[in-house]
């Protein structure tokens, strides 16, 4: 038990994030909680607009200035609440302890700076060991080799690289300072399918080699099955189901939304006439439905679903937030 506490790297408690503009308030994240141990990989799954990226940006406190706000909750990283630390402290954490890989490698590198310059920057900003310029440059070469880019290309600029290569550069940049936690926001979505697998297996390998934790944001359950230890399924800013990889992929009981998500992956073994996406659209985040936020789209919705918040049902490490399983004897925490 004691050991577990020691190993805990990140804990998010009841996090709520809104985007406030003059016209609307968008409820992007509505009270999510999860934990991540050292060395673990957590997959956050969900459709576009479920609040996955917002969650990631709040951990680094990179929400759009003046608009995005954390209204409630704690983000505890290595025992420190990141919602409370100063901005200059936060700058030390960004890139050094937590780094982020963004979705689109085409736009996430600066077009007018050389690859070397951009990698070097990350190292210079967190040069805690006071290494000199040559040592830092050697480290740049080392990082490039690590992600499979010949070091003689370091003087080139982003436009001279392909999408997959750029994402490798981004990964090298994120790993340069040996962070404890990597947040990868759909790192392969913008890439060609053949390259996706390469980049993904490289990330997995490096993560293990360097002993880091990772939060992998994706909408692809296949990727999650291959890479993650834990999974959290998000819908309308809430985690509606979470558990270990075995819980999600091995057990029978699931939240109706997760069932829908599984349904929308084409299965190679069973012949399906067509993709079966979940009917309907994400709810309007400025005006969320009452009760269970999934009820307008849920094929199993009951009367109570639109009236009462669903309970949290726990089966060991597996939790499902849904009225459907209430009778079956799970532990009810919320109501």
């Amino acid at each position: 038990m004691n050991n577990e506490i020691k190993n805990k790297l990140l804990e998010i408690r009841n996090l709520k994030v809104v985007y406030e503009t003059d016209l609307d308030t968008i409820y992007a994240v509505n009270g999510i909680s999860f934990e991540l141990d050292k060395g673990q990989t957590l997959g956050i799954v969900g459709e576009t607009g479920a609040g996955k990226t917002t969650t990631a940006l709040s951990i680094l406190r990179l929400l759009p200035q003046d608009i995005g706000k954390i209204t409630e909750g704690n983000i505890i990283f290595e025992g420190e609440d990141l919602t409370l630390v100063s901005e200059s402290m936060m700058r030390k954490i960004r890139g050094e302890k937590i780094s982020m890989i963004f979705q689109d490698p085409m736009t996430s590198l600066n077009p007018v700076l050389s690859i070397e310059r951009q990698l070097l920057e990350a190292l210079e900003l967190h040069n805690t060991q006071n290494r000199d310029k040559n040592q830092l440059k050697a480290r740049v070469d080392e990082m490039l080799e690590l992600v499979g880019i010949p070091k003689n290309r370091k003087h080139e600029y982003p436009h001279q690289f392909s999408g997959g290569m750029k994402q490798r550069v981004v990964i090298a940049m994120a790993l340069a300072c040996n962070p404890l936690l990597i947040i990868a926001d759909e790192p392969t979505t913008a890439l060609d399918v053949t390259i996706q697998a390469q980049v993904l297996s490289m990330m997995k390998e490096l993560k293990e080699k360097l002993g880091m934790s990772m939060i992998l944001i994706t909408h692809d359950l296949g990727i999650v099955a291959e890479t993650c230890d834990k999974v959290a399924v998000m819908y309308a800013g809430e985690i509606i189901e979470s558990g270990s990889i075995e819980d999600i992929f091995g057990r029978e009981k699931h939240h109706p939304y997760t069932v829908g998500l599984f349904g929308s992956i084409p299965n190679l073994e069973i012949e399906t006439p067509r993709l079966s996406p979940i009917d309907g659209l994400m709810p309007d985040p400025t005006n969320l439905p009452s009760g269970c936020k999934f009820h307008p789209r849920c094929p199993e919705a009951m009367e109570i679903c639109s009236e009462e918040l669903p309970p949290i049902i726990e089966y060991g490490s597996h939790t499902i937030v849904c009225h459907k399983f209430k009778k079956e004897g799970g532990v009810n925490e919320k109501n």
Partner: protein, 309 residues
């Protein structure tokens, strides 16, 4: 790179051919003939006709054009009707004044416009931004000659601090340069502000922030270089505009530059002088544009690799 520069210089040829044609074409519409201006209204009819024939005034437009180009190819741009001296000798004497005026103005434009634009963007919607953008609005819409007159009234007539005409000392340049630069600086300020605001939203800025870069580093290393690209192009274009704007300003402040020369020549129907001055301006503007493109390539590796290929 050299190939590119040479190619660009070669494109000057059709541009100049076109400009010469346009100038001769427009001058052929203006009333009055050179001989009566040269010899005066009272000169005998035959003398005027004879001189006009000598000067080629009665030739059809295309013949004039062909003759002009033929002579120009031999380095002969004609004698000024007014002074009877080769046209370029006059231009060379007056050129430094105009160039100084435009050059100082472009520098002042950059010195005022770019930093204020950056401050405005960084402090968006804060009081300092409001002040900058409203001042920019006022200066961008003021007519230059009027601003010049106001400044003369204030600084020369009322306060007697600065001279209102001539080119003797640096003091003579203060008012004209400021008058010339104010509206352009306002434009550059607004452009810098908007391109900065655009780059602030870019993904690579977020990446830099995720690396832990400080706000200063983000502004100067990541945003500025990208935001300045369109600003530099615009400064090049503004240089052309400033050369043109100098026409009014030289007149308002009675400065002996090319512009005043051009205006006198147009009045006197001194076609060779007008044509030569305009050609001179055209070459100057084209070279500026070329320089701007080269600077662009220096900053933006994407463009650089296009040229080197």
């Amino acid at each position: 790179m050299y190939r590119y520069v040479i190619r660009r210089l070669l494109t000057l040829i059709p541009i100049l051919l076109g400009i010469i044609f346009l100038v001769l074409f427009i001058m052929s519409f203006t009333p009055g003939d050179p001989a009566s201006l040269l010899l005066g209204q009272d000169a005998p009819e035959e003398a005027i006709v004879q001189l006009n024939t000598e000067l080629g005034y009665y030739d059809p437009l295309l013949v004039k054009y062909a003759k002009y180009i033929w002579n120009a190819l031999h380095g002969d741009f004609g004698l000024s009707y007014r002074t009877q001296k080769p046209v370029f000798s006059e231009i060379i004497i007056r050129f430094p004044v105009t160039l100084k005026l435009a050059f100082y103005s472009v520098i002042l434009t950059a010195i005022i416009g770019i930093p204020l634009g950056i401050i405005s963007a960084v402090k968006k919607y804060k009081p300092i931004d409001m002040v900058c953008t409203s001042c920019a609005m006022v200066f961008a819409s003021l007519p230059r000659f009027w601003l010049g007159l106001l400044l003369i009234l204030l600084f020369s007539v009322e306060l007697k601090l600065l001279p209102s005409n001539g080119v003797g000392t640096w003091k003579h340049f203060v008012l004209p340069v400021f008058t010339l630069a104010a509206p352009t600086a306002a434009n550059i300020l607004r452009l810098t502000r908007s391109t900065m605001l655009e780059t602030i939203r870019q993904d690579y800025v977020r990446t830099a922030r995720a690396k832990g870069a400080s706000e200063r580093l983000i502004i100067f290393r990541h945003e500025l270089k990208n935001a300045l690209l369109p600003v530099i192009t615009s400064l090049g274009v503004e240089f052309g505009v400033l050369l043109g704007g100098a026409i009014l300003i030289e007149t308002v402040f009675s400065m002996p530059g090319i512009s005043t020369l051009m205006i006198t020549s147009i009045r006197m129907k001194d076609t060779p002088q007008v044509t030569a001055s305009i050609i001179f301006f055209a070459i100057l503007v084209c070279i500026t544009m070329l320089l701007v493109d080269l600077i662009y390539a220096l900053i933006d590796p994407r463009i650089r690799s296009k040229y080197i290929k």
